[in-house]
Symmetry: C2
Subunit: 440 residues, 2 copies
């Protein structure tokens, strides 16, 4: 209410509910606790049928259905087509407008995507926009924070309260006649593209109606569904976070292999308007390659890319964050401003009386226990005791490595009043009585 | 002269030259240019014989020498022994004192290391300490800056001016009777361990004197030499620099495989007193494993490790350095202090007159060209024009990603006088006339 009243042109109410019995004023089933008596009311039986029962039936049927290699090959090809319908169509084109497509391509994608049996473009893209906008929150329709299985298909198997899902603006989709047409005739599209087309094609082409129905129809649907569901589960659970680790999305090549290239999901959540999910040519992103080919064929245009400068900035910032975390776990020695201040005379006195103190750059270091371990020998390090060894340490005698500087900082015990110039001042004073030197 | 006069106990002159004709007062051959007439005087013929001629002869002889599998097996085992003599003995024990060894182990290492024909421990360790102390400079005996081939064996094939090599302290080696003994009897050790022992062993054990001489003797020497030479060439040329990139040493698994684990050379140059070259168990460092086994057998003790805190500090610093380099190549937008200052009224006026200006956190952004690309839609972004959109942008309407913040910073065009609170002040002023607000 806050948004729509403030910004009239934007966020409209969610997709209207298809269920004629749904009344937004009545309490929803999800407002009551699951019990032994009412659990079956919580289950979304239509979805259970579509994504569990039917595939199981197909699996059982496959025991009695012989496999023809032509049908198997067609099933695999058709699997890729319906997968692309979801990844290149539903996802990158409609949910994210990461490129534009001509009407023929849009019709093709709406049809093969429909054959994957994952809902209409309109319903899918609305939920997906909410997923991006409210990632990992309660308004995220498939938040992985509610469990891996929930994000995979629990959110479909159990009924959801439509009011819970975050609102998003789908005015652009409502202006796309292909989207509207597919939404209106969704059931027909599903049945035809999901089952009838593969059955008839395999029947007429290879005289294998049954195989077409079981393999290219039912079981192919099952595999496409499970694969694309992985984008909501696996891609929020397995892999690296090179761009941002505040939310759950992750990059992993395994997820990419499962999902036609949607596995570089940390990148995708950071740059959703980019038509690519993977940046490098050697990363597996066939959805990106397909879109690129369609562009060459004149079917797609206006492919959007985030400026690489911004992408690299994100990478650098995340690396910095990781590095800062690592740094904070290490011991960097007592900070200079927490060290006691020593007079130079004091430093010299203590060094004469058995405490092996060395002054480097105005900081006093106690090397007593280190002398015997000094890789440059006892004689060398001992020659610096009670002295300002700044020059010796930094190349006058030996240009110490970065590691030696780090080690040195762990031996800090004090800072000298007046800083590193004290000894030079003193010497000048001795030689030329009129140089003045004031204690601060 | 500077060092030895200043620090009497330390750095002594280099190893005395074995050549009786050498007179440090006469000009050295390396002081004259190489010409067609004198080039043969520049060549170190003894070394050419030992590391080029003899191996070539062995190669030729191998055409007429049948291979017995027992001899081949012994040659490989003996190869590892003489290799370990160099890596675990010459290098990690004597040159770097990274652990201590009992007399039996020291004798063993001095003997098998001698069988690799790479000079005496004393000579080898003196040069190697100079290599660490003066890495990549003219005082480095095998500086890779003079070319990969020079660092591999050019420095041995051509005569070198002994005065050029940096001085190092080898007083500890002069106190080790095994080192002194091996140095004094070096020629006998080489001939016996390099050739006689393998010949006699294979002769008596497998009745294969000739094979023992050619394969376990000459050709094994050749392979050990070339492998260990790689530490000076390949390890300064191929791979990563996870700890420090100011000098040439590099880490690479290929070099490690060639050199019994000496290929993690960036680590080694940073932490030479550590008995390990590789830290992780899955990295190939059989020299480290051998030392560890000797420790379990009571033959080695006092294995030195750099504190892992210091090692990780080095890694973090180098990563930071790389990251800073990457960062400096990116465009981070006009720095705030380089932006012109705008009055809030000015900002509002310009926004009304067609320039799409949005104020976020007191910084004015020109989003004119971005409106049509805004992933949240034209309506959303337009609603922020001419206003303080700080809250909207940061979660009030939509919690923008890090990427969006980065993009925003590239659109900066000015800062508002008074910062982000101006609008709130103005509103308060309107509502409550007595609130005072002063222009700085
Ligand atoms: C005050 C604390 C000191 C620390 C923590 C320290 C640490 C180290 C370390 C870690 C090395 C091994 C090589 C490296 O990592 O660069 C080294 C080498 C060396 N140090 Fe120091 N050092 C100290 C003081 C001195 C002083 C005062 C001198 C000379 C006056 C000196 C002379 C040398 C020399 C000559 C080497 C080279 C050894 C070689 O490779 O031949 N060090 N030192
Ligand atoms: C002022 C410069 C702006 C820039 C550079 C900008 C940038 C972006 C970007 C890159 C996204 C994509 C998602 C993301 O990366 O987080 C985005 C999404 C969004 N922006 Fe902005 N934005 C701006 C202003 C605004 C304003 C003023 C509003 C609202 C008043 C707004 C509302 C949104 C919304 C609601 C989304 C979410 C779209 C969705 O995923 O449904 N943006 N913006
Ligand atoms: Fe996601
Ligand atoms: Fe997405
Ligand atoms: Fe080296
Ligand atoms: Fe070394």
């Amino acid at each position: 209410e806050y948004q729509s009243s403030q910004l009239p042109a934007a966020a409209k109410p969610s997709e209207p509910n298809r269920n004629r019995h749904y009344d937004p004023k009545k309490p929803h089933i999800t407002d009551t606790k699951i019990t032994k008596q009412n659990w079956w009311k919580h289950v979304n039986w239509l979805n259970v049928t579509l994504i569990v029962m039917v595939p199981l039936a197909g699996l059982v049927a496959s025991f009695w259905t012989p496999v023809k290699w032509q049908t198997a090959l067609f099933a695999v090809i058709y699997y890729y087509f319906s997968g692309l319908g979801i990844t290149a169509g539903y996802h990158r084109l409609w949910a994210h407008s990461s490129y534009s497509a001509t009407t023929p391509l849009r019709i093709f994608l709406a049809l093969v995507g429909g054959g994957a049996v994952e809902g209409s473009v309109r319903w899918w893209a609305r939920d997906h926009r909410a997923h991006h906008r409210y990632t990992d929150t309660d308004k995220d329709p498939y938040s992985v924070r509610k469990g891996l299985l929930y994000s995979h298909f629990g959110w479909m198997v159990m009924k959801q309260n439509p009011k819970r899902i975050g609102r998003t603006d789908i005015s652009d989709l409502n202006e796309d006649p292909v989207v509207i047409w597919q939404h209106r005739h969704y059931l027909k599209v599903v049945i035809f593209m999901g089952l009838i087309l593969p059955t008839i094609f395999c029947g007429l082409a290879f005289n294998d109606f049954l195989g077409g129905f079981v393999y290219a129809g039912i079981l192919r649907i099952f595999f496409v569904q499970q694969a694309t569901f992985c984008v909501n589960s696996l891609a929020h659970w397995l892999g690296d976070q090179p761009f941002d680790d505040r939310n759950s999305p992750r990059d992993h090549v395994f997820t990419a292999l499962m999902t036609l290239g949607e596995g570089y999901h940390n990148f995708h959540h950071e740059f959703p308007s980019d038509y690519r999910n993977a940046l490098d040519w050697w990363q597996y992103d066939p959805t990106k390659w397909s879109i690129w080919v369609w562009k060459q064929l004149g079917l797609a245009y206006d492919l959007k890319q985030f400026r690489s400068n911004e992408i690299e900035k994100g990478r650098v910032q995340q690396q910095q964050k990781k590095l800062d975390m690592k740094r904070s776990k290490l011991d960097w020695g007592v900070p200079l401003d927490a060290l006691p201040v020593m007079e130079y005379e004091d430093f010299q006195d203590q060094a004469k009386n058995g405490r092996a103190l060395i002054d480097v750059a105005g900081v006093v270091h106690d090397v007593t226990t280190f002398i015997k371990d000094h890789p440059g020998g006892k004689a060398m390090i001992s020659s610096g005791i009670g002295k300002d060894a700044t020059a010796m340490f930094n190349g006058g005698v030996y240009m110490h490595s970065n590691a030696a500087h780090n080690l040195l900082s762990t031996m800090r015990v004090g800072v000298i009043r007046g800083g590193c110039e004290v000894e030079i001042w003193k010497r000048a004073q001795r030689e030329n009585k009129d140089v003045q030197y004031s204690k601060d």
